[in-house]
Symmetry: C2
Subunit: 265 residues, 2 copies
DNA sequence: ACGCCCTTGTGAACGTTTGCACAAAGTCGG
DNA sequence: CCGACTTTGTGCAAACGTTCACAAGGGCGT
């Protein structure tokens, strides 16, 4: 925002892109542990996580030198280190606002309660659902936000309300000292500096998919349509461009003859 | 991930980062249209979308020169252009696999049906829910995947199953010629090249939030704890690092004295 | 004890994304 | 019709992220 001429930037230095991948590594490591695997090489771990092995090593190197050359990484030890770095060794109470279809789905989501996160409360403003039970939690009124947040020391809030009330809920959460918000409402939240907002937006993801799908069907017209459908390494799952190696789409919709009216002029 | 010495790449040249933001602009533009606003400047649009105005202009410039200098962008025209670029002017049938809490939430999600996407079918493998209705759709058996995909020319599939069956469902979708997959299951899907996978993962988002929250609480110990809570411009909502406005973040975390037990050895 | 072989950790090159700053280009009032 | 003002579109440089390639380091067989 404001100019930073010579930012001292005490940023202790883990790149944001790395942070976003650590949870994926962590999940794979848990799976390894459950399989009884004691050590993994960067190559194996990278393949399972769907990334380049050099990237994985660089990511892990930001945490420290926790690997053993010639062997790999100790699964259990690495799990601990990543967990600590992400702050998962402490308990994070979470409040879910909005007990509609989505809110209930979230409350029932198993991976929620596990690994450090704990649902402190589920709130809603609809009197019809207040008092009913979801995933072992009695739904409380939305007017309890401040009290619940203070009582459980909540610092993470999940907004699963309609877009129309998302900003109001967000404001109340922020006023109650919640500094991390996960927003499922399809809108851009306005928050003060120092509050961290992440959004999960089905509609946006679908539109990105549609773009690639459309492009694929157009590109297919080009030469060299080798229909090789070989099972390659896992395509990048982090939103990078599609590989479009041998894109064999049937005969879907070329009809863009609908040249539109230019409204202005 | 084979080497690509000289990728012919018919990439017509819209950066991936831009594609990811276009849906946000589109949503803001729709909101403007509903408010009766006819034209917007890049500054206004950028503020509403939570991005830098220069970035917005550069993004839009990739689609063409659709603005008018000294005035701004015509809302309706820009909506059309972005929609066309994203491929939203055509109809995208979508199949949802998994009718649990999440699948039902998705099926009921309003923004789904609107703007180009249409639910072709909702499937599940649980005999207890097959035949019941969700959001106007009779839930069909998961063994109908191939038939439904072929019949409705589905090219986008949404996986809302437990992680344990996600890969199997994915394989069947891919075999049935679905080339775009939105994965809600908490796992990395393995797909052939040419298939586009995007993932939405609550657990990962929470862990990223936890990391920032943890860092913030450590940083707070530092000097200059000015509790200025002024309402600033919308903090970046795309997952970038938290602004932490006054955050000078100096001597954070020297305490790595807690050298843990090395399990192996 | 020694040397081979495997894997990590990282320097350096490359590509992508962001943000500034400004010229080009249009509108609008007089 | 003209000049002042506003806003777009973009060249450029810095920041950020990815990938390659390889030296450093450690285990393991002999």
């Amino acid at each position: 925002m404001s100019r930073r001429p010579a930012p001292p930037r005490g940023n202790q230095g883990i790149p944001e892109a790395t942070i976003a991948r650590l949870p994926v590594y962590l999940r794979v490591l848990y799976a390894c542990g459950e399989q009884g695997i004691a050590t993994v090489s960067s190559e194996e771990l990278a393949a399972a996580a769907g990334v380049n092995s050099a990237k994985l090593r660089k990511d892990l190197s930001h945490l420290g030198s926790y690997g053993t050359r010639g062997v790999g990484y100790d699964v259990e030890y690495l799990v601990y280190q990543i967990s600590r770095e992400l702050g998962l060794t402490q308990d994070w109470p979470v409040v879910i606002v909005g007990a509609g279809n989505l809110g209930r789905a979230l409350a029932n989501y198993g991976g929620f309660a596990s690994r450090g996160f704990r649902i402190a409360a589920v709130l809603d403003s609809d009197a019809a659902v207040i008092g009913t039970e979801v995933a072992g939690h009695i739904i409380q009124g939305a007017d309890q936000i401040e009290q619940v947040v203070a009582q459980h020391r909540v610092s993470i809030g999940v907004i699963a309300t309609p877009a129309s009330s998302a900003q109001a809920v967000c404001d109340r959460l922020v006023a109650a000292d919640v500094t991390s918000i996960l927003n499922f409402a399809p809108m851009v939240l306005n928050v003060p500096a120092g509050v961290d907002v992440r959004k999960v937006d089905l509609s946006i993801e679908l539109q990105i998919l549609a773009f690639h799908a459309q492009r694929r069907s157009v590109v297919r017209v080009s030469e060299d349509g080798r229909p090789s459908y070989r099972r390659a390494g896992p395509a990048d799952q982090n939103g990078d461009a599609v590989a479009t190696a041998g894109g064999v789409v049937p005969a879907a919709v070329p009809g863009n003859a609908t040249q539109p009216q230019v409204t202005g002029s």
